[in-house]
Amino acid sequence: MSNNTSMKVLKRIVNQKCQGTLFIVGGTLILYLGDVLQHMSKLTSLMTAWRFWIDCAWRLYDGEKIIAGCYDDPEFICKKIGKLKDAILLDVHHDEVSHDLYFKFNNGMKLELFSDSVTDELWQLRGADGYHYGIEENLTLRESFEEPDE
């Protein structure tokens, strides 16, 4: 799959609202994007049209200033990452060699991802219909349909 494909897929979440975030101790960060769905998730009280799972390194900017990174303390992270709530995702950039990503939001926040493993999953976009697109082991792009998340 080419970078074109990745950008086409990732464009689906552009102009979507971030309805909330979840930081799981151990490192995973989930962005809840798009329309809120009626049924509830087992993980949180929120389920949206799209979810973006981040397992690699990331950091958050407010304007030009870095305000948090994935290695900060969880309580601190949750406070800072909450600033993404209700922000609209304006743009996504994908680097085709490293699979690093860059998200720009309408409130001046930016999220930068950095691939920090060649043997683990890095990030994944999940649709409410079970569509999955992400980077798996060996920095391989994978597109599939799975059982929708509950």
Binding site: A57, D72, V97, F114, V118, D120
Partner: protein
Amino acid sequence: MALNQSKYTDQVLSCLINQRCKICVFEDPELALHFGPIVSNKSMKTIWLLRIYCRWRLSDSDRIIVARFDDTKLINQALGALKGATLVEIKHENVSHDLKLVFDNNLSIQTFSDSVMYAQWEICGANGYQYGIGPDLSPYEQMNSESYNG
């Protein structure tokens, strides 16, 4: 960061240019790159030591070879390729303090600052000099009465 502080960081980092990497070892959580002539055979101490605490990855011209969260044994096998390589360029990003170290064998190490609460990297001289990026992504400089423990 003020422009002159950024230039000062660049100036400090330039001490590593044209130095040969004697040893490069990852011992979780620290990546240690020893540069320049050996000054003490007892501890394999070199003139300069670059300690990297944040995320990093080793790449060649078109792919990531290994990164911070891969298996330690695999990491150290891959890092062996840096032994004897000469550092030809260091790029320093003045907001994030990310580094890109470019070697004469086309390998490079990229760092990614992943925290505002903890240190990112540090240069230690055999004469006790230290310069690094600490909490709040603030540069610090100090002279210790004792050299680093190599």
